[in-house]
């Protein structure tokens, strides 16, 4: 009898029944489809490590859901929707498995992603916890029909932007009010909105710098002031709409430019089939030299510490960042894997031939900066957002003063909280 029981136990262990992994991808339709496809392929290839996929549960934001999951010890084994800025809090609570424990982690990570990009994700304690997965460069998107009809080219500098904006901004029905604007900019005081206007333009103007350096504000500089002035002038001259709209002013043709990443392509196709658009680098201050960087909206993969199968989870993670999986990521979601030589690799060549609009974002992936890893990042961006609103949107305070105040607030946040 005991022999039979032992045999059953060995069989069960051998089949790996106890090793089912849980995997949480993002809950947007394209990424659910991607995750479903990849998990099906994985379960076919590795029946010894079955994976169960569940989209991130609904909540106000992925970050809040993940924090709740960590606290309630219901986090999955693997999650692929990690905002690098959130890592500080997770690392502090020892919620993530450090990758240094896997012998082949350097070969895998540096073999796929540029070393400089990998290093950007190293945590303050010197360890690597996150697997760089995808980074969507945030770029200028323009309405190609409007630009072509006016013989305009996408602006590269603030000077060129102002010239184009004068042509693009107009009162088309002659009622004395502007009804077509140069660019769509959100006026809502929401911390994450600033990632897609102030922060993106700051990364471009500063040559790839981020907001913080050793827990201190690193943005009290001319680049940040020039960005704040750029937006202030835009609102003052009505290049950007200072009003609430019921729809998407860019897709409705009421704003000629927007700031977005390659993920927007699927959205455009869904909402306005046949919409003609193009991507262009973020405009920089006149006289800017060197390559143009931008904010790379990165989402990475982590293994949570509550996993009982870290080695199996690591095997699955390696599959998620394989060449084949990266190809699926491109095809299904149009999002950019953090992979070296993406546009020169023949494996991806036919994808970019079929999707020429995505070539520019793919090329830009080599020059992106993520957000800083800080437990206070949301509060810092919230404070910057208030300054942006006061200075740029409503013109209440001068750009120099707004940047100085935001930098001072960062110091206060670190000192007090």
């Amino acid at each position: 009898m005991s022999f039979v029981l032992t045999a059953i136990l060995i069989l069960v262990a051998g089949l790996g029944w106890a090793a089912e992994l849980s995997y949480w991808p993002s809950s947007n339709p394209e990424e659910i489809q991607l995750a479903r496809t990849l998990v099906e392929e994985w379960n076919r290839l590795r029946p010894d490590i079955p994976v169960k996929m569940q989209p991130l549960p609904a909540g106000q934001s992925s970050e809040e859901v993940l924090l709740s999951a960590v606290v309630s010890k219901t986090a999955p084994d693997v999650c692929s929707n990690i905002l690098p800025a959130m890592m500080g809090r997770f690392v502090r609570s020892k919620a993530i498995v450090p990758l240094d424990g896997f012998d082949d982690h350097e070969r895998v990570l540096y073999g796929r992603t540029d070393a400089r990009q990998v290093e950007r994700f190293r945590s303050a304690d010197g360890k690597l916890y996150q697997v760089p997965w995808k980074s969507n460069p945030v770029m200028l998107v323009y309405n190609a029909e409007i630009f072509d009809s006016l013989g305009l080219k996408p602006p590269r500098t603030y000077g060129e932007f102002a010239k184009a904006a004068k042509v693009l901004t107009r009162d088309s029905d002659g009622d004395g009010r502007i009804d077509r604007w140069a660019m769509k900019v959100s006026i809502k005081n929401l911390w994450w909105q600033r990632l897609f206007d102030f922060y993106t333009f700051y990364v471009a103007a500063s040559g790839g710098k981020t907001l913080l350096e050793k827990e201190k504000a690193a943005f009290d500089n001319p680049a940040a002031v020039s960005v704040m002035r750029f937006f202030r002038e835009g609102f003052k001259n009505e290049y950007f709409p200072l009003s609430g709209s019921a729809g998407d002013v860019f897709l409705d043709g009421k704003a000629a430019m927007d700031v977005a990443g390659p993920w927007a392509v699927k959205y455009y196709e869904r909402i306005r089939p046949g919409f003609k658009f193009g991507f262009s680098p973020i405009p920089v201050p006149d006289g800017h030299t060197g390559p143009v960087y931008t904010y790379g909206d990165a989402k990475n993969i982590v293994i949570f510490s509550n996993t009982r199968h870290p080695k199996q989870a690591w095997e699955f993670v390696k599959f998620l960042i394989s060449k084949q999986a990266d190809r699926r990521l491109l095809e299904i979601t149009n999002q950019m894997p953090m992979r070296k030589g993406l546009t020169s690799d023949p494996y991806f060549a036919d994808f970019f031939r079929k999707n020429p609009a995505l070539r520019k974002p793919a090329e830009q992936t080599a020059r992106v900066a993520p957000t800083d890893e800080s437990v206070h990042l949301v509060q810092i961006l919230d404070s910057l957002s208030s300054q942006f609103e006061a200075c740029a949107v409503y013109g209440e305070i001068p750009p120099e003063e707004s940047i100085r105040a935001a930098a001072k607030e960062v110091q206060y946040i670190y000192d007090h909280w």
Binding site: R92, N189, S243, G244, S245
Partner: protein, 291 residues
């Protein structure tokens, strides 16, 4: 006498125990834990750290908190009178023998049962500067568009109007019940004496509605203190923090910045203020109606 000694008492305790358990788990425990957090700093993932009265001293010097409090007071000053006037007027109209009275009673109550988030999104579209219905109506009259939600002067008033519309049905029901409770012979007697409709309202309806009025004032004041969903969805607290309410500010600290201790302090401060305001209202409005 010891509770629970007699069989009837034991049975009674048994019957109320599910509710007591619910109260303990979902009200008493969170309340006590929130009070514990007032003296701590806690980011959800790390253990709480005792900070004494640091949260209170920060609150005293927190400009944004005082700004949020002022905004909430402004909302209160706009919303409560609007709520009382319109609810009472509609209740009076619905108390009359008008055609399709049942239909109108249901229609006015409808917004109350619709989700707050849905109503807010709907009104956001009505308020839209370019395609919103209100500005389309103004355009028909040859008037320029109004920035309902993006003007620092108008945003809070726009929210107050929307909140009044959303909650009015509930207060209409309360006023209607109060009006229908007033004995009809009082009006008959006043008519015989030659009183006008206005005199009926001024000397009969209004005084006898005072208990209902107190209830409406207290409930709408408490509702105004907990203003959250409208600015959260419509304005995010802007423009320039003019619609930042205390509850929205508390939410930001709790769930965006993970400052649970400070958010609890803000919550207790607000509860204390609401209690003071309600006690003052009770002091001045609490009189019994004598028929």
């Amino acid at each position: 006498m010891t509770i629970g000694r007699r069989p009837a008492e034991r049975a009674g305790l048994l019957f109320v125990s599910p509710y007591l358990l619910f109260l303990a788990v979902f009200s008493a425990y969170p309340l006590l834990f929130a009070f514990y957090l007032v003296f701590h700093r806690w980011d959800i993932v790390s253990p709480p750290v005792y900070v004494g009265l640091a949260n209170f001293s920060y609150l005293a010097g927190d400009v944004k908190f005082w700004r949020a409090l002022l905004n909430t007071a402004l909302f209160l000053a706009l919303h409560v009178p609007l709520q009382i006037v319109f609810s009472m007027l509609i209740a009076m109209a619905l108390a009359e023998k008008i055609a399709a009275r049942g239909f109108f009673r249901a229609v006015f109550f409808l917004p109350v049962i619709i989700s707050g988030a849905v109503v807010t999104i709907l009104w956001q579209k009505l308020y839209a500067t370019d395609t919103g219905v209100f500005n389309q109506l103004l355009a028909c009259l040859g008037l320029p568009p109004v920035r309902w939600l993006t003007s620092t002067k108008l945003a809070m008033a726009s929210i107050a109007v929307m909140a009044t519309w959303k909650n009015m049905g509930f207060y209409v029901v309360l006023f209607l019940a109060g009006i229908l409770n007033i004995p009809g012979h009082l009006y008959e007697a006043s008519r015989i004496e030659g009183a006008s409709r206005w005199q009926d309202f001024r000397f009969i309806t209004l005084p006898l509605l005072r208990p209902t009025m107190l209830l409406v004032v207290v409930l709408s004041t408490l509702g105004a203190f907990s203003l959250f969903i409208e600015p959260y969805v419509m304005t995010g607290g802007g423009p320039l923090d003019t619609t930042l309410s205390v509850v929205l500010y508390m939410y930001k600290h709790a769930f965006m910045f993970q400052h649970m201790g400070y958010a609890s302090t803000v919550g207790f401060a607000l509860a204390l203020l609401a209690l003071v305001v309600v006690l003052v209202q009770k002091r001045y409005l609490d009189t019994e109606a004598h028929y």
